[in-house]
Symmetry: C2
C-alpha cells in the first residue's frame, strides 16, 4: 500500500502582474516544500486576477500552451524540491479552443497528466462559458510519486458524478483548484451559507467515495472591470477533508497561507471497510444519470 | 407553482409490541396533524424493534403484504386528517421475496405509490442483505396532494446517484426513513463523526440537487438478541434541510419528538436559478457511472 504523504494547499491573493503571481507561487511552493509538503496544489487560474468577470476578446492573450511557460517554470520547482505540483492554467489548445486546465507535474518535473475542466459555469461575473471550451478528456486521476491524484476544477465540485467517476479511478485525493467568492451585495445575507454549502458538498464527496478531498481557493477582493456588481471577494477557506468527511486543515477567508494535511491510504482502506458504499452501488439502475432530467 | 406545505418527521422509540408501535405512530401523527403537518414521515420499519440485528428465519413472520394491515390503518389516519403519510414497512411480496418498502398514502387515504429500498446494507448488527431483496422498481417520486415526494430509505442516503435520480423526477423533497445508530463500543471514538457524516452527505444531496431533504430516524437503545456487540443506540437527529443545505429543523439524539418545516417550491426555484447545476451536467460523460469501479 502507498505510504502516507503530505499535501499542501497554496491559498494565494492574485496580483495584476502575471509574472508576480508566478514568482509568488514559486516562493510559496518553496516554503511548502520546506514544511515537508510532497504534493502541492495552487488555486484555479493562479497566473492572473480572475478574468472571467467580463467578456473581452483581448483576454484570450493570457492563455498559454501546455507545455508552456508556466509548466516549464513549475517543472523546475517540482524537480528542485522533489514535490508534485498541481497547477491550474488558462490553456490555449489551438486558435479558438481554450480550456481551464489542471496540469500535474510529478516530483521529477515530468508532466503526469492534464485535466480539462468538464463543468463550465456561467453566472454574473463568472462568464466562463465565454472563455472555456468544456473538457473532452473525461474525468482523470494520475499516478504520481506519492499517490494517485484525482483532478477536478472549481464548478466540478457541485457535481457528485464528477467526484464519483474520479474516485473510481482509485484516487487517493480529489483536488479542486478553485476561484469562488462573494458578490459584495450578497455577502451579508448569503455569505455564510454559500461558503458552508461549498464546503459541505465537498465533504459529502469525501464521505460518499471514501476519499480525501482538497479544495484550494484564492483570497482577496478583485474589482469588476466594468463596475458590474463591484467585483468579487474570493473567500479562501481552502480545506482538506479525510475519507470520513472530517476537516483536517482549513485556511482563513482572507489571508494568503499554506495549509497541510497527511493523506494516509490506510485510513482510506479502513473507512471503506467500515462503510462499504462501493460494494452496494446499484449499477444496474444508474443508466438514467446520462439523461438531462426526468420526463 | 405548488404552494408551500408543511412536513413533519415523527421520531419514535420502538416498543417490542408491534401493535403498540402502530398505536403510538397514529397518536403522534394525530398530534402532527394538529400542528398543521400536511406530509408526515415515520422512521424506517416503525412497526418493530430493528430486527436485522440478527439472522433468524422466524423474523420473516413480521413481514406483511402491501396493501395490508399497516397501510389500511394508516390510510384511515391519512384520510381523517387530510395528511400524506410516508410509512416504511417490512413487505412480504411473495414466499421468499421480502422488501424494505416505503408506502406513500395520499391525503385521501389512497396509495400514491411504493418504493422498494434499492441499496441494501450488510454490516455487523445490520444484516439487511439476509432479509431484504434489493428493490426492482428503480428510484421513485410520487405526486401527492401537497407536493411531489421522493422516496428513499436509509442506506440509500449514502448514494449521490439515488438522490440525483429521484430529484430528476421533479421531487420537492427527498424523504429518508432511517434506522441508524451507534455501536456502544464505537460511540465514544466515532459517534460524533458518524452522525455528522450522516447529516453532511444528505445536506450535500440537498445542495447538489436543489431539493429539500428530510431524514427521519428512530431513537433508543435496542439490545442485540444474541448479545453480539450489545446492541444499537439509534441516534435520532432527524432533520430537514432546505435546497441550499441549511438545516431548517433538527431533533434530539434521544427523545421521541415531532419536528416540522415548511417546504416552499419557490425557494427551490430560486435556489436552482442561483446555482443552476442541472444546466451544466455533463451527461455525455457520465456513462461510467454504470460501472462497478475503474479499470
Amino acid at each position: 500500500m502507498q505510504k502516507p504523504f503530505t499535501i499542501g494547499l497554496i491559498q494565494m491573493r492574485m496580483e495584476e502582474d502575471g509574472s508576480a503571481n508566478l514568482a509568488k507561487a514559486q516562493a510559496m511552493l518553496e516554503k511548502a516544500a520546506k514544511q515537508g509538503v510532497q504534493v502541492a496544489c495552487l488555486p484555479e487560474l493562479f497566473r492572473s486576477p480572475y478574468f472571467c468577470k467580463t467578456e473581452d476578446h483581448t483576454i484570450f492573450d493570457l492563455a498559454e500552451s501546455i507545455p508552456g511557460p508556466s509548466t516549464e517554470a513549475l517543472a523546475k520547482t517540482a524537480k528542485q524540491h522533489g514535490m508534485v505540483i498541481i497547477a491550474s492554467l488558462f490553456e490555449r489548445r489551438t486558435a479558438g479552443i481554450y480550456h481551464n486546465t489542471s496540469v500535474v507535474l510529478d516530483a521529477d518535473g515530468k508532466q503526469a497528466g492534464i485535466y480539462r475542466k468538464m463543468h463550465i459555469p456561467d453566472d454574473p461575473l463568472y462568464y466562463e462559458k465565454y472563455y472555456f471550451t468544456p473538457g473532452d478528456l473525461g474525468f482523470k486521476a494520475f499516478d504520481t510519486k506519492y499517490g494517485k491524484l484525482g483532478q477536478l476544477v472549481c464548478w466540478d465540485q457541485w457535481y457528485p458524478e464528477a467526484a464519483r467517476l474520479t474516485a473510481m479511478q482509485s484516487a487517493h485525493v480529489l483536488f479542486y483548484p478553485t476561484a469562488i467568492g462573494w458578490h459584495p451585495a450578497e455577502k451579508e445575507e448569503f455569505g455564510v451559507a454559500q461558503a458552508d454549502a461549498w464546503e459541505t458538498i465537498q465533504r459529502g464527496h469525501a464521505i460518499a467515495n471514501g476519499v480525501y478531498v482538497a479544495a484550494c481557493n484564492r483570497v482577496g477582493f478583485e474589482p469588476s472591470p466594468n463596475k458590474e456588481g463591484r467585483g468579487i471577494e474570493f473567500f479562501g477557506n481552502s480545506f482538506v477533508a479525510d475519507p470520513f468527511g472530517r476537516i483536517l486543515a482549513k485556511a482563513s477567508s482572507d489571508k494568503e497561507e499554506i495549509i497541510t494535511a497527511v493523506c494516509d491510504p490506510k485510513t482510506q482502506e479502513q473507512t471503506r471497510r467500515w462503510w462499504p458504499f462501493f460494494r452496494d452501488r446499484r449499477i444496474d439502475a444508474y443508466g438514467g444519470l446520462t439523461e438531462r432530467f426526468g420526463k
